[in-house]
Structure formats: structure tokens, C-alpha cells
């Protein structure tokens, strides 16, 4: 069972399944996303978590921040861990050894474990059609190991393995389009969400959890430490991300029906978003300005493509 969150009061009250006592950095968006997901679930939920900031901050023996069944195995296999639980649920239900309500099966992973190392495991789970929802906490960097580039890191970002320097503007490659890849797996529902747009996020989480089969959510997760901004600005930064269309909010149903779910009233320039974070600071030097231009062009092109696809229903 899932539930709709109608107002912020309701949202703030319902978080007892994830303790405030955890070791996430102040201002980390990971915690917001977890609360929004747990709040959307009324019944049983089982969580599998890959290695990364969430895991090391919320389950440090002998403590746990989780008041729901939760398992962490390794960096790459959170998806398959949950698939194993789901398989056991099926077997035990059929044998009537488990007679309770059907739980929601949810896997969490950072962008590193999703876009890179765990990609094969996710792909396998989706191909086999396990009834689970995979949620990626997309902070565009390996945060837990000190800010190395991932397949999700945008071009021009200065990371600890692609640092901006005298002859480098930071990461050379563009961010992988994970949503398109997951939609191409034939997933019945994939969506991109941002926790600052919590009503939109709640609706999509509900839909993902209530859709049978493997569904995918890519959640924007601002990281104060690696994006380098003040910890009280998390929501503002994510507002800039969605209003500049760097992180557009949309969903794809059954691999083809694309809906844009948030259209900014005033689209702001990409440079306003980049300028608010330390990781892009070097792009504002004259010799790197062309990367900002390229970034803007890429964002415009993607937005154009999304609108066309929405219109054409393909």
C-alpha cells in the first residue's frame, strides 16, 4: 500500500521508519529522499542498499537508523539482494509459509553503484522482471570514497579523479542517460524525480511502487560536500537544477509514453546553476567558458528532445 502526501505537515510527521539519528552530512539530500520514499509506503517495505554514503551513515554496528527490514551486501548488488528477497517471498507465499501482506521491494544505490559498477546486476533484475523498484540517489559523484567521477558526473565537473587544473577543465565526458537505458529494458515505469519537488516525487514513487514489475526512479540528490555549497542551500540548489532543466523531471511509461511532469515558469540559464557550486567554479575562467556554452547547448537539445517525444508519444 502506498499513500499520497498532501501537505508538508503530513510529510514532516511521518518519518519514524528512518531515524533522524544518522551520520549523513548536514544538508545531504539522501536523507530527504529516503524520508519521501518511506513516507509513501503504508504497508511493509523491504530495502536492499548498495555500499555508499547511505549505507555507511545509517547502519554502523551496533546501531541502525532503519526500522524496516534492510540489507546491504556489496557495492554492486543491492538490486539482486532485493531480487533474492522477492524470490523468497514468492516461494514462501506459494508454500503458505508466508501469509502476510505483500511487501514493497525497493533497492537503493548511489549513482556510482547504479550507473557504473552495479549496472549489470540492475540490468539482469529488470530483464528477469522482478517486482521491485530501484531508486538511484544521483549525486553525480562517488561521494563515500571522496568524490571521484562516476558515469553520472556531468561534463566540466571537478572531481577528485578529474580535478580541474592548469590544462584540464575537469571531467571530459558527459553524463550517461540512465533513464533512457532503463526504459529501453522494457520497464513499465521509469521516472526522474527531485526531492525539492516533493509532490511530483510522491506521485511518481507511488506509481513506481504500485506498478507490477521492475520500475526505476532516478532521484536528484544534492551533495553539500562534493558539489561544494552551504548545507542550508540544498533545496535552493536543487531548485536551480530543475529550473535550469539540467535535471528535467519526467517519466516514461512502458518504454514509450513520455510525460514531462514539471515545466519551470521561468527557465533559468545553466550558468546560474553551475555558478552556485564549487565543483564548477573553474568553468567561469575565460579559457573554460566554452564548456558552459556546451553544457547549455546539451541541456537545450535534451529539453527539445523530451518535448518532441512527449508530443509524439514515442
Amino acid at each position: 500500500m502506498t499513500k499520497e502526501i498532501k501537505n508538508l505537515k503530513q510529510f514532516s510527521r511521518a518519518a519514524e521508519k528512518f531515524e533522524g539519528a544518522n551520520l549523513l552530512c548536514p544538508g545531504c539530500a539522501h536523507g530527504m529522499i529516503i524520508r519521501e520514499i518511506l513516507n509513501a509506503v503504508d504497508g511493509h517495505i523491504v530495502i536492499g542498499n548498495s555500499t555508499g554514503c547511505i549505507e555507511v551513515s545509517t547502519a554502523v554496528y551496533p546501531y541502525t537508523s532503519w526500522d524496516v527490514p534492510w540489507i546491504h551486501i556489496g557495492f554492486e548488488n543491492g538490486s539482486t539482494a532485493v531480487a533474492g528477497v522477492e524470490a523468497m517471498y514468492k516461494a514462501l507465499s506459494r508454500k503458505q509459509k508466508y501469509t502476510g501482506d505483500k511487501p514493497k521491494f525497493v533497492a537503493f544505490g548511489g549513482d556510482g553503484s547504479t550507473y557504473d559498477i552495479g549496472f549489470q546486476w540492475i540490468s539482469g533484475c529488470f530483464e528477469r522482471g522482478h517486482d521491485l523498484t530501484y531508486v538511484c540517489f544521483d549525486n553525480e559523484v562517488y561521494a563515500n570514497t571522496g568524490g571521484q567521477r562516476s558515469g553520472s558526473t556531468p561534463i566540466g565537473s571537478s572531481t577528485s579523479t578529474t580535478p580541474a587544473g592548469r590544462v584540464s577543465y575537469g571531467k571530459k565526458d558527459k553524463k550517461k542517460d540512465m533513464l533512457a537505458i532503463m526504459a529501453a529494458h522494457g520497464s513499465p515505469y521509469v521516472a526522474q524525480v527531485a526531492p525539492n519537488k516533493w509532490k511530483d516525487m510522491n506521485k511518481k514513487i507511488k506509481q513506481a511502487l504500485d506498478t507490477e514489475g521492475p520500475t526505476f526512479i532516478n532521484a536528484l540528490s544534492a551533495c553539500t560536500t562534493e558539489w561544494r555549497f552551504d548545507c542550508n542551500n540544498t533545496v535552493d540548489i536543487m531548485d536551480l537544477a530543475v529550473d535550469s532543466l539540467v535535471f528535467p523531471l519526467y517519466e516514461i511509461i512502458d518504454g514509450h509514453e513520455l510525460n514531462i511532469t514539471y515545466r519551470p515558469k521561468n527557465i533559468i540559464p545553466v550558468r546560474d546553476y553551475l555558478g552556485a557550486q564549487g565543483r564548477f567554479k573553474h568553468l567561469f575562467k575565460p579559457e573554460n567558458e566554452h564548456i558552459i556554452e556546451q553544457f547549455q547547448k546539451d541541456v537545450d537539445k535534451k529539453w527539445e528532445m523530451l518535448q518532441r517525444r512527449e508530443e509524439a508519444r514515442v
Binding site: 547502519a59 532503519w66 527490514p69 551486501i73 556489496g74 533474492g84 506459494r94 508466508y98
Partner: protein, 406 residues
């Protein structure tokens, strides 16, 4: 409900088929697997049983062995009976998750059909994968023939799931020599087998929502040591349960296994220590060489982990010369059996037997009677001279120039 499978008193099964039937009879709830030679038929037979309605469980055909073990750990934590099978490269790919499984104390059963590790790529049997398992925190049992592959699988569940143990178990059998050689196997009926293994309920199951549980937490220096120490403690003590299960099984079937098996050891002076199918070949050689007046015996292990130091020492306390046969590349050291058996003997024996190490059968190379007789003759020479008459470590059955090391 699964259909009943009618079995004859004696079936002609190879080791893989024997393992598949044992998994079927254990009514495993989830099998997650990925095929690799020579363990592939275990997975295929299982799929066929499922298609014909003889199994009521989930069969998850994952995209890799790493995923197979990941799904097994998730399923085991969820709360039910879980098993899988693999060999060689597949096992190597699984190894990361093997540590997770034992660390979380999930009683899985893994059939490891032993095979060489590349490079060069080789599909045949040696013990490289078995040796790779040694520090993973799993109990490791050795079967020598198809009957034993069947028996050990039934016993593996009972050992792993015992609340005094709760440690995953590997059942080893030799690739091809055991896994693909059909022999007469006397199975239990489905009812008898299930009754022997018993029902299983996971402690702290994830699907018990009345008590939410956190699996796989992080534990740094303040707790990690205690966790590993506990696992080691329970592994070292698991021989108590293993022996109990061996006894129960003997009562049920008349087939009695021992953690350390002794062949012709009453008056033996020269002894071969080995694992796997070679044990049976060595017994034949021992019998033959006794006709030459050489007092030969064979000592073999059923548990590579926990390593039975005391029993090994006890079995070898009165002998003059011992050869430890290792079927895995020693890769820069003496073989593992040489090191472990050697230490057990030296720690616990007042006499000082002459120890030597033979590396054999890598990548499926045959271990012949001729080789084994040669080893016994070497041992006899050592016993008579009361010293090593050859280098400590020799490669036997190797083409070209002889290879030996001290």
C-alpha cells in the same frame, strides 16, 4: 505442491545428478544459479525438475555467478532454504559475496564442482577453486564419488542450518571424474530425505515484519574483530555438529563418514594424504604396494574447513613418512595440504615423520596408479633412510623436465 518423484533403490547417477536430486529432496525454496562447466548439469537438471513439477520453489537464472550468490544471500536473509552450484571462474567471481554470506551467518549450500582456474583456460578438474574458498568462512566438505555427492548435500543442509552453526556450507566434488561419471547411487526416498534434513526457519528473517532487521551493517575496528572471531569460533566448533550429523546419517543409511578417513592405517608406516577422487585411487595403490611389503595407508579429509588438526595428528601419529598430495598450483609456496597437515603432525607428534609434497593433476591431468606407486616407493625410501631422499616438493605427472623444490 511438488509432484512426488519415484526413485528406485539404486539409481545410476553421476555426481551432478546426485547433487540435483538432493537439492530437490531438500525442498529448497530458492535456487539462484548461473551455468559453468562442469557444474552446469546441476542447474540444468534442476530446471528440468522444475519444468516437470517436481519442485515447488523459485529458480532464479541470474546473469552471473556474482549475482547468483547475491540473490542467494538476499533470499537466505529473507528466510528460507537456499542453494546454488558453480565451478572455477564462476566461483572466483562469487568470492566477494561468499564473505558476505558467512559474515551474515546465512546457512546456504553451494555445490562446488572443482575445476582449474585460468589462465590458461581449462574446463577440467583440479582443486584450485576449492583452495580459493579456504578463507571465506564457509564450512567445506569433500565428497569423493557420486554417492557421496548425494549424501553430503543432504547432510550439508542439516549442518549449515543447525542453530549452533548457522554457517554456509560448500560441498566439493571433483569436476568430470565425479560430476560426470555415472555410478550406482542408493538414494533415500523423498520423505526419508526431507525428514532427515528437517524443516528450516531462518532466525531473524527479513520477511518477519514484526521485528525489522538490519543485515550487513558496517563494523569498524570496534566490532569487526569480534564478528570475525565469533564466526571463527563457531566454525572451529562446528565439527561437533558435523560429527553428530555423520552419526545420524549412518543410523539412517548405514553409510558412516568420518571427518578424517583412515584406510589401512592400523600398521601403516608410509601414508598418502589426499582429497577428492584421488583418495579412492590411492587406496587401490596402497593395497597393491602392500604386496611388495610396503606398509602403505591413506588418510583423507571430509572437512577442509574446519581443518581437523587434532584428528589429522591422531591419524598420523605413528607413521614414518607422509606425502601430502595437492591438486592446485602451489603458486610460490608448498601446497596447502602440505602446510596444514604438516603443522598438525609436527604440533602433536612426538616422533618426527618425514614430510613431502606432491603437486599433481592440474587442469585435469590424470593421476595414475603408476604415479601413486612411485610416491609410495619414495616414501618407503624416506622411511628406511629416516630422511628425505628427494626434494620436498615434486611435480608428478608433469611432461618435460622434472620439477622439484626445497
Amino acid at each position: 505442491m511438488a509432484l512426488k518423484y519415484e526413485l528406485s533403490k539404486v539409481e545410476v547417477w553421476d555426481g551432478n545428478m546426485a547433487a540435483s536430486h538432493a537439492l530437490r529432496q531438500a525442498q529448497v525454496d530458492v535456487v539462484a544459479a548461473y551455468p559453468i562447466t562442469p557444474s552446469t548439469p546441476i542447474v540444468q537438471n534442476y530446471g528440468k525438475f522444475l519444468s516437470d513439477g517436481y519442485i515447488d520453489g523459485e529458480f532464479v537464472m541470474v546473469e552471473s555467478e556474482h549475482a547468483a550468490m547475491s540473490a542467494c544471500v538476499g533470499a537466505g536473509a529473507a528466510g528460507g532454504r537456499v542453494a546454488t552450484a558453480t565451478s572455477s571462474q564462476g566461483f572466483a567471481l562469487m568470492v566477494e559475496v561468499l564473505y558476505q554470506a558467512s559474515g551474515m551467518r546465512i546457512p546456504l549450500v553451494l555445490n562446488l564442482v572443482n575445476r582449474a582456474l585460468a589462465a590458461p583456460l581449462n574446463v577440467n578438474g583440479d582443486h584450485s577453486d576449492m583452495y580459493l574458498s579456504r578463507d571465506t568462512g564457509w564450512i567445506s566438505l569433500c565428497a569423493y564419488n557420486p554417492q557421496e555427492a548425494y549424501d553430503f548435500n543432504l547432510m550439508a543442509f542439516k549442518i549449515a542450518e543447525d542453530l549452533r552453526v548457522r554457517i554456509p556450507v560448500i560441498v566439493n566434488q571433483d569436476g568430470f571424474i565425479c560430476s560426470h561419471t555415472a555410478q550406482n547411487v542408493a538414494p533415500l526416498s523423498d520423505e526419508e530425505a526431507y525428514e532427515f534434513i528437517g524443516e528450516y526457519k531462518q532466525k531473524n528473517a527479513m520477511l518477519d515484519f514484526s521485528k525489522p532487521i538490519t543485515y550487513g551493517a558496517q563494523a569498524e575496528e570496534d566490532w569487526h574483530f569480534e564478528h570475525k572471531a565469533q564466526l571463527h569460533h563457531d566454525l572451529m566448533n562446528s565439527h561437533v555438529v558435523i560429527e553428530e550429523v555423520f552419526d545420524l546419517f549412518a543410523k539412517k543409511t548405514g553409510r558412516k563418514y568420518n571427518i578424517v578417513e583412515k584406510y589401512d592405517m592400523d600398521d601403516a608406516e608410509v601414508v598418502i594424504v589426499a582429497l577428492g577422487t584421488t583418495v579412492e585411487t590411492a587406496r587401490v595403490a596402497a593395497k597393491k604396494i602392500r604386496e611388495e611389503g610396503i606398509k602403505a595407508g591413506v588418510v583423507s579429509l571430509r572437512t577442509l574447513r574446519p581443518f581437523p588438526y587434532k584428528l589429522v595428528a591422531e591419524a598420523l601419529k605413528d607413521v614414518k613418512a607422509i606425502a601430502m598430495l595437492d591438486r592446485s598450483s602451489p603458486a610460490g609456496a608448498m601446497g596447502m595440504l602440505f602446510n596444514e597437515v604438516g603443522v598438525a603432525v609436527l604440533q602433536n607428534s612426538t616422533k618426527k615423520p618425514i614430510l613431502s609434497n606432491y603437486i599433481y593433476g592440474l587442469g585435469g591431468r590424470d593421476m595414475t596408479q603408476e604415479n601413486l606407486l612411485q610416491i609410495y616407493r619414495d616414501l618407503d625410501a624416506n622411511a628406511k633412510a629416516n630422511k628425505l631422499t628427494h626434494p620436498t616438493q615434486q611435480f608428478i605427472g608433469l611432461r618435460g623436465k622434472k620439477m622439484a623444490f626445497n
